[in-house]
Structure formats: C-alpha cells, structure tokens
C-alpha cells in the first residue's frame, strides 16, 4: 500500500471503532468492545509505522479527501498531509494511545458505561489524528475543537456526580476562549495569504521579497499562541487541567498528559515559518516568559497537593510551560523531543497512579496510602522509573530531553537558565515526595482497603512495563554529542529533513564540554534532591499534614495560589451578575416597561380623545358651532390681511 492509501486508513480506523462501539457496543460483551477499540488502535499504529518508514526520507505526501466548501476566494479542503512532524505525532498518538486503550480494558472493567468509554476514547483519537494529520489550519481547527469535545465528554464521564460535569464544562469553556483566539488567527492568515494550507503559507513566507507588516505577523502569531494557551494549559488558561482530573485516570493519561495538551506545541512547531519572521519576536518572548511563569507557578502548586492525580496534573502544566520556553527560544526540535519523552513518562506516571487508585479502591489521597511498595511491586517499580525520568536523573529519557531545553537557555538567556533549573528542582522535589509518601512508610488506609490491595490484571501491567522501557531508553532518540562519537541526533536530523520552515536547524549545543558541564550540574541536582526527600519522607517518616494547618506559602500552594478564586471574582461572578441583573433590570424593567409604556401612552392618548366622543347630539352641535365660529374668524383675519 502506498502512503496515500494508508493515511486515510489511519484516520478512519478509530472512527470505525467508535462507530461500532457507539451503535452496537451496548449489546456486545466487554471483552469484545475493548478488543475492537484496542484493535483498531493497534492496526492504526502499525499503519502509522509503515507510513513513517516510507515518508521519512522521501517527499511529504498530501492526500486530498474532498473539498468541504468553496467560496469566492478560497476553498476549505479535507486534506491530509504527512511529513516527519505530523507522522511523528501520529506515532505518539497511536502508540501511546494503544497502550492506554489496553490499560483501560482492565481499569474500566467494572464500569457500566464501558462501551461508551471506548467509543469516546476512539473518537478522541480520531479527532487528535485529524488535528495532526490535516494539511491546513482548518483541519487543525476541526480536530482542535473535536478533541475539546471528547475531552469534555470524558472529564464528565461519571456525570452523576455534578462536580465532574462542572469540571468538564470549565475545561470546555476555557478551551473555547483559546479557540476564539486561534480562530481569529486563522482569519488573519486567510486574509493575508488567501489560503490555510501549511505548505502554501510556508511557500509564500519563504518567497523572495515577501513582506508583511510587523503588526500583522505579531497579531497572527499571538492569536495562535492564545489558542495554544487554552489547549496546552498555560497561564492564564491553565486552571481547567487540574480539574480535568475528575475524568477516569486513563483519560488523564491519554488526553491530559500525552496527547491533547501537546496540541499547542504542535501548532507552534507546525507554524514555525511564521514564528521565525521578524515581527514574531515579541510573540516568542511572550511565549517564553508565559511558559516560564507557568512552569514555576504550577511546580509551586504541585508541592503541597495531596491528591495523587492533582500532583501529576500540575506537573503536566509545569512541563508544558517548559516546552513553551523551548518554543520561545526557537528550539523546536528540543521541544518535540521533550514532547515525546514526556508522553512516555507522564503516561506512565498517570497509568501508574491509576493502578494505585485501582488497588486502593478509588482512594486518591496520598496521605491515606503509604507502604504500597511491597503490595503492588510492578506498579511501584514502573512508577519509580517514571519519577526518575521526570526528575531528570541521568541516563533516563527525561534527563536528556530536559537538558536540551536547559542547554538552549544557557546559551541564549542566562536568567531563563536559572529559572528553569529552579523549576526542575521543584519538579524533582514534588515527584519524589509523591513517590515516597505513596510507596514507603506504613499503610495509612482502612483495613478494608488493605485487604483489597492487589496488582491489576496483565492488561494493566503490560502497558506500564512497555512505557517504563520507553521512559528509560527514549533519550536515545536525540542523544547529544557527548557520549557516542557524535551523538545520535536522530530526531534533529529527522526534523531537519522535511519540516518546512527557516526555523528548523539542527538543535545541537555547540561545545561538548559545556554540554557535559550542564548535564553534570542538572544530574547532580536531581540526585541530591532525591536523597534529601528520601531523608525527609522515608527516614523521618513525615506525612503531609492537613491543609488547614499549613501557613504562608505552603498554604498558598495547597490552595493552588488562589487562581480559581481570583478568576471567580474577576470573570465568573461579574458575568453571572450581569446575566442576573441584566435580565431583571435592563431586560425586565427598562426594555419591557419601555415597550409596554409606549403601548400604554398610545392607549392613554386614546382615552383623552375618547372623552370628546360623548355620543350626545347637543355636545356635537356645540362643537359644530365652535367650529363654524372658528372658520368665520379665520376667514375674516385671512381676508383682512
């Protein structure tokens, strides 16, 4: 099969899976439902690998499906585009997606909405693949909104608890704020270039004598970035992501860690030709500092969270912030590298936390866990690997990918370098805190929970093991030139090959010695932190205290730095107030009364006139006499003059 035949299939398979499960899934057994959903994903993944192999060193492939709509100046096409970037994302989405589907088969086994869950999950993959495989911004937006819907459905999956549906709504609305920004960006692109196709826009940008006003390019890029802040949970639109943890844990792993939230990064990398134009510098700086602030603020909040999933959620926000720092510095390859390794270890950690929650009979508070190390060994071991990887312990994948970003910062922005080191230090602290409190010490739950403690079935442990292996060796993808003769730099070459745009240079650090020094510093820091947290949480056996006993910054951290409260005060309350008072005073009292008043005034004037119509002949004769006199008077005056 040629790539142009494979591509539509990759996209269609999850849709078919969703359709089968959505229509007849209810009458099928759970095993069949799960197998169909996971099966289509696995086939999709294999096809993606095939497509990847053949496109890798060849020309990008475009597949026209159909024209959605044709207007005066432009046409919107349903068209697929396969180059190294989109296929790499496809590999992540389908690969990690398959593992998470497999995990869900065990995790959701006792849920009544089993078939519905897999329908949504497959649907999500379809939307996500539309996002990455589309050949234009329109398709991207299509998928962009699509993943938002699936995210909404899955966050509110357990809808009988109204809290969950509120979290779902919050996620959808915050995403939509970003979407509006993205949409405006699309209109601006359309206005300037007359097309939304990536290739054509890139061609136009790189043509000799291309001119664009600085304001316009700033407008376009900032709009795209606003879109990215919504989907990728950056300040100010990040507060939905921690709430999104209300969904089932595999959802958090798939959507809110590995794939959907990286859509913003994908969008930026995809549009690198725009971000490298002169006027976009300001946008890139904004991106850099917003990312940095998000990274640090989220890390601070994660320090004092006690819900195992909330810690991971803030950790995701923090890592995404770091990715935007990379993008702000123009380190696109480094960002994609970190996206990849992050997908591995964050999916691993989330699935691990799911396994813990499963074992603990739906308990999520780490203060009520402890000592799980012996009870669920596979989960423990893989979770440890995830923790080591994200904390930047040398030789694991996260170490290399994070180092690449930090290395870039060291070269260009010394301040950013130190800030990033601070953020990584925080990452290591809260991750080891989470790990030690959960798996070491004594068991602090109820007897019943202790009795139930068990490792999940093979469908749950197998994905953990595979992801753990990937988290260890993922760094090999883009090894810097220190260890082997010249490093692998595989990913850098890969991207340099056929991702269009001037920003795509090799992401190498110049000097091996500097690289080595930076790596040593980062590695040493991570190791030292792991030792300190070990002493605090294992040797001294301290357990996080209840939130109301915290003070100062600790309290603020536990309260999520009051972001929700501030937004509530600044935006939610005023809109609700406007809605309520507007309906009451403006709509009800002013407009309604105004209209009714107008009607009444007309009625009143009728009343006044009516009094003349008495129906009595003598009255009428009187009026007639007055009239005649009046006429005569008028006549006389008129003729006198």
């Amino acid at each position: 099969m040629s790539v142009s035949q494979i591509l539509p299939l990759i996209l269609l398979l999850p849709l078919i899976g969703a359709f089968i499960n959505g229509t007849i899934g209810k009458s099928l057994s759970k095993v069949v439902v799960g197998t169909i959903a996971t099966g289509v994903m696995a086939i999709s993944f294999v096809l993606a690998v095939m497509a990847f192999m053949s496109v890798q060193h060849g020309e990008p492939v475009t597949v026209q499906l159909f024209t959605m709509i044709k207007t005066s100046g432009f046409s919107l096409n349903a068209r697929l585009f396969a180059d190294n970037l989109s296929l790499w994302m496809t590999l992540i989405v389908t690969g990690v997606g398959t593992l998470i589907h497999l995990f869900s088969m065990g995790y959701m086994k006792h849920d009544a909405g089993y078939y519905k869950f897999f329908t949504y999950l497959n649907l999500f993959i379809f939307a996500m693949l539309t996002l990455v495989l589309g050949s234009n911004y329109f398709m991207l937006f299509f998928g962009w909104e699509g993943v938002g819907i699936c995210s909404y459905l899955l966050i509110g999956f357990w809808y009988q608890d109204f809290k969950n549906t509120l979290a779902a709504r919050k996620a959808f609305i915050m995403n939509r704020i970003g979407d509006l920004g993205l949409l405006i960006g699309l209109f601006l692109i359309l206005g300037k270039f007359g097309t939304l196709e990536y290739v054509e826009v890139a061609k136009a940008v790189m043509m000799e004598g291309f001119e664009i006003s600085e304001y316009l390019i700033f407008g376009i890029t900032i709009c795209l970035f606003i879109g990215a802040t919504g989907k990728s949970a950056q300040i100010p639109l990040f507060t939905w992501l921690p709430d999104a943890m209300a969904g089932p844990t595999p959802v958090s792993a798939l959507i809110h860690a590995a794939t959907m939230v990286t859509a913003g990064i994908f969008l930026t990398v995809r549009s690198n030709f725009l971000f490298e134009l002169d006027g976009a510098h300001l946008t890139k700086d904004i991106m850099l500092y917003v990312g940095l602030a998000t990274s640090i603020i989220a890390a601070i909040i994660a320090m004092r969270q006690n819900d195992i999933k909330k810690v991971l959620a803030y950790s995701t926000v923090s890592q995404l912030g770091m990715l935007f720092v990379a993008l702000g510095m123009g380190a696109y390859t480094a960002a994609m590298f970190h996206v990849t390794t992050h997908a591995f270890f964050k999916a691993l950690l989330f699935l691990g936390s799911g396994s813990v929650i499963h074992a603990m009979s739906d308990e999520q508070d780490i203060r009520k866990m402890g000592g799980l190390r012996k009870k669920i060994p596979i989960t423990h071991f893989t979770f440890l690997i995830g923790t080591l990887a994200i904390s930047g312990i040398p030789l694991l994948s996260g170490f290399y990918s994070k180092d690449e970003i930090i290395g870039h910062a060291f070269e260009s922005h010394k301040f950013v370098y130190f800030a990033l080191m601070f953020s990584s230090a925080l990452t290591a602290i809260y991750m080891f805190r989470l790990y030690f409190v959960t798996f070491f010490g004594t068991f602090r739950g109820t007897h019943e929970q202790e009795h139930h403690l068990h490792e999940g079935p093979a469908s749950m442990t197998l994905p953990l093991i595979i992801l753990a292996v990937l988290s260890i060796f993922g760094g090999l993808l883009n090894l810097p030139g220190v260890f082997l003769h010249s490093g692998t730099h595989w990913l850098s070459h890969h991207y340099a090959f056929n991702v269009t745009g001037p920003g795509m240079e090799l992401g190498e650090h110049g000097d091996p010695n500097t690289t080595l020094m930076l790596m040593a510093a980062a590695g040493a820091m991570a190791v030292i932190i792991s030792i300190i947290t070990y002493i605090v949480y294992v040797k001294r056996n301290s357990v996080p205290v209840a939130d109301d006993q915290l003070k100062g910054l600790e309290k603020a951290s536990a309260m999520k730095l009051y972001f929700d409260e501030i937004y509530d005060f600044l935006f939610v309350k005023p809109v609700l107030w406007l809605s309520e008072k507007g309906a009451h005073y403006f709509e009800g009292a002013f407009l309604h009364r105004g209209v009714v008043g107008l009607g009444k005034a007309i009625g009143k004037s009728g009343d006044i006139v009516r009094k003349i119509q008495t129906g009595r002949t003598d009255n009428y004769i009187l009026w007639m006499v007055f009239g005649i006199i009046g006429l005569i008077v008028y006549y006389i005056i008129y003729y006198k003059n």
Binding site: F142, E145, F162, F187, V575
Partner: protein, 479 residues
Amino acid sequence: MELLLFILPVFFALSVLIVPKKGVRAYGIIGSLAVLGVVIACMMQYSNDGTVHLFADKKDWLSGITLSFGYDGISLLMLLLTAVLVPLVLVSNFKNELAENRLFTSMVFFMQLGLIGVFISMDGLWFYVFWEITLIPIFLISWWFGAPERKAALMKFFIYTFVGSLAMLAALIGIKVNAASFYIEDLKAVVFTSKAACWLALGFFLAFAIKIPIFPFHTWQPDTYTKSPMAGTMLLSGIMLKMALYGMIRWMIPLFPEAMACIQYPIIVLATIGVVYAAVIAIKQKDMKRVFAFASMSHVGLIAAAIMTWDFDALSGSMVQIINHGLVAVGLFLAVEIIERRTATRNLADLGGFAKQAPKFAFWFAVLAFASVSVPLTSGFIGEFLMLKGLVQFDMIIGIIAGTTLILGAVYTFRAYQLSMYGPVTRDQFADLHWSELIVLAIIVIAVVILGIYPAAITDFVNPSLKIVLETVSTPSGL
C-alpha cells in the same frame, strides 16, 4: 406544477377541517410531505444558474400590482427549510392531544402557505401580503392552544410585529410612488438620494428587526416563545424569523443599496450587541425554554450581522447557518418539550439526572447541544466560521465581540443540558424517547451532521444566486 405550492397548503388547510378526528395526525403529516415533494420537484427542475425562475409572470394585473412569483436558489433553500420543518413539527407534536385538533393542523398549513408565499413573491406588495398572512395563523395557534397566562404576551407580540409590518408597508408605498409597478426589478430600478433611501430602508429594517429579533426590538420574543405551545415556538423560531433574514437579502439591501452607507454599520453594531446580550442573559435563566429562546436570539443576531456585511463568504455562511439554526432550534425546543411532557416543569432547578434513565434522549439531546454551540462536524461550524470571518474582515473589534458567542454559547447550552440531564436522579421514572420524538431528533441530527461534513450541498446550491444578488447591488440599482 409550481402552482401546487399554493394549492396544496390551501387544500390541506381546508380539507383537514372535515377529516375525522382520528385521521388528523396522519392526514397532516401526509399533506406536509406532499408539499415537501413539490418543493423537491421544483429544486430538481431548477437550472442552477442563479437567476430567478418566474413561473407566474403577469405584469399588468391590477394597477401596479403584478402577478410575479418565482424562485432562485435562495428562495428554494428557504422553501426546502419550510417544507422539511413543517412535517418535523407535526411529527414531534404527534404525542400531544393538539395533534388531533383540526383547527391546529389547518392553521399550520395556513402558516405554510404564508411562508411559501413570502419566499416566492417577486412583487413587493405580495411579499407584504404573505408576510402579514403568516402572522394570523401563528397568533391563533398560540392564542388558542398556548399556556394559560398567554394573552398579554401575545397581544404584545401581535402589536409589536404589526407596527413593524406597517412601517414596511409605508416604505413600500414610498418606493412605488416612483416606480412603474411593485415588481421587484421595477422597484430596484428606482434611484434615491441616500437620505431618502435611508429612511425607506429603515421602514423595512423595523419590520425585520422586530421579527428576527434584533436588540433592542426583542422584548416580545422570550415571552411569546415561552407562552406558545411547542409547535408555535418551533414555527416561530425555526422558520418565521428566517423570513426576515431572507427579506434582508432579497429586499432590504437590493432595494436600497444607496442606504448601505448609513444603515450598515449601525445594524451590525446592534446585531452584535444582541449576540452578546442575549447570550449573557441566557446564562442565568431558570426556565429552560427561555434559555433556548435567548440562545436563538443570540444566534440569529449573528446571522443578521453577517448578512449586513454583504460579503459573499459571510452571506454563504449565513445561508448555511439559517438552515442549521432552523433545524437545531426545532430540535432544542422539542427536547424542552420532551422534558416538560414527562415532568410538567421546565424549571432547571427542579430537573436533573435524566441521562441515567433515558440514555437515548441524553444522546440525541447532547448532539443537538453540541450542534448548537457549533462544533465541527455540525453545520453550525462552517456557518459560524464563514460568518465570523466576514465580520472580522469587516471590523476586527466587532468580529471579536461577536466571536465571544463561541464561549458564551458553550456556557448557557451546557449549563442547561447538564442541569437537566446530569447530576443525581430527581424523578422516579423518566420514559425514554417515543418513536415520534426519536424520528424528529434523529432526522435533525443526521441532517446537521451531513451538512457539517459536506456544507457544499447548501453553498453550491445558493452561491450562484447569491452572486447575482450581490452583483446587482454593487452596480447601484441595476443601472
């Protein structure tokens, strides 16, 4: 054959009065399907070149009033919407006692007659006559069969819209004074000073603004919607207000291109204010029907604003959205009715948990809710995309303000959906969909999704006609 467009509704409106009570339901549906058949036949016959196909053309009928009836792509699309929605309204009403009522069914057909007349009149006076005819059946439907405390609201509705119509009549006469006849091309040929054109255009605008409704001429709408029986609300929001949007494209702007300079900006601003205003008000409404009434106002405000940009893409988007809104509004009001039938209340605070008891209903209602917030794969998406693009190009700020409908729409729609369907179970029992309800919801959803994937089905059909309408205006008054 086109004459059947008049004959059939009249025939069914009268003959249904002598059909035995048991057969009224089926008779009504068969009749409406017959009309649908005729409309489809007309569509097949129409050579899609964008010109107006006049099937009745008698220029000297009665002192300046001509017998000119015809259609182009735009008219046919509106006819199709009418012909599709009427059977849907009748079927969704199937379970109500009202469906057995001969007078009710008769009025629905009279309504259809008026609507068809509006969309195919190419003579100003006939347009006005049919425009007024539609008011009578809808008023009677709501008056006879509405909620107990309906009378004040309906009087307000009647007077309000009637005043608007009179303004239009005055404006019509104002042009006719200088024109050979009421025939549309004759009316278009009149050239005005821009001041006169503004005043006359305002006459039309008042009629349309009230019907659409555009802020601040909307106060009749929420009350009338909530006090009318469901079928009345559906007819009002689904088709009747589309008459005004159609009127803007066919009459108001082509007749007074000179007025564009003075009316374009103010109308767009008012419509945009309405988009945001209605959306904000919808957020905290307690009555579910009121939520969707304001939602409807917000959506059509956007359509009106997009039409006024008089940009080809925006117009094409607004045609898509007109169809989309017609379908979705009917669906949403049916969803409200389904809940009201079973629980006897529409108060959101008293509802909840139905998703568990009625999964089918939950599913179809959810898709409708998504369609209402214009997500991809539903026709609203393309419509809103093109309309917002037109608005952004017209004026960045207005475009962004109108774009907030994306956000606010999600807020009120999902609030209403979640409060009613999610959360803990509140009723002992809640029956899932009756087949008549299922059919309507399914047809609407499938249509919306198909048009969402392939909106070219609509745009290819209307674009040639839109192009012609657009061109006649850019060369002032057909000179």
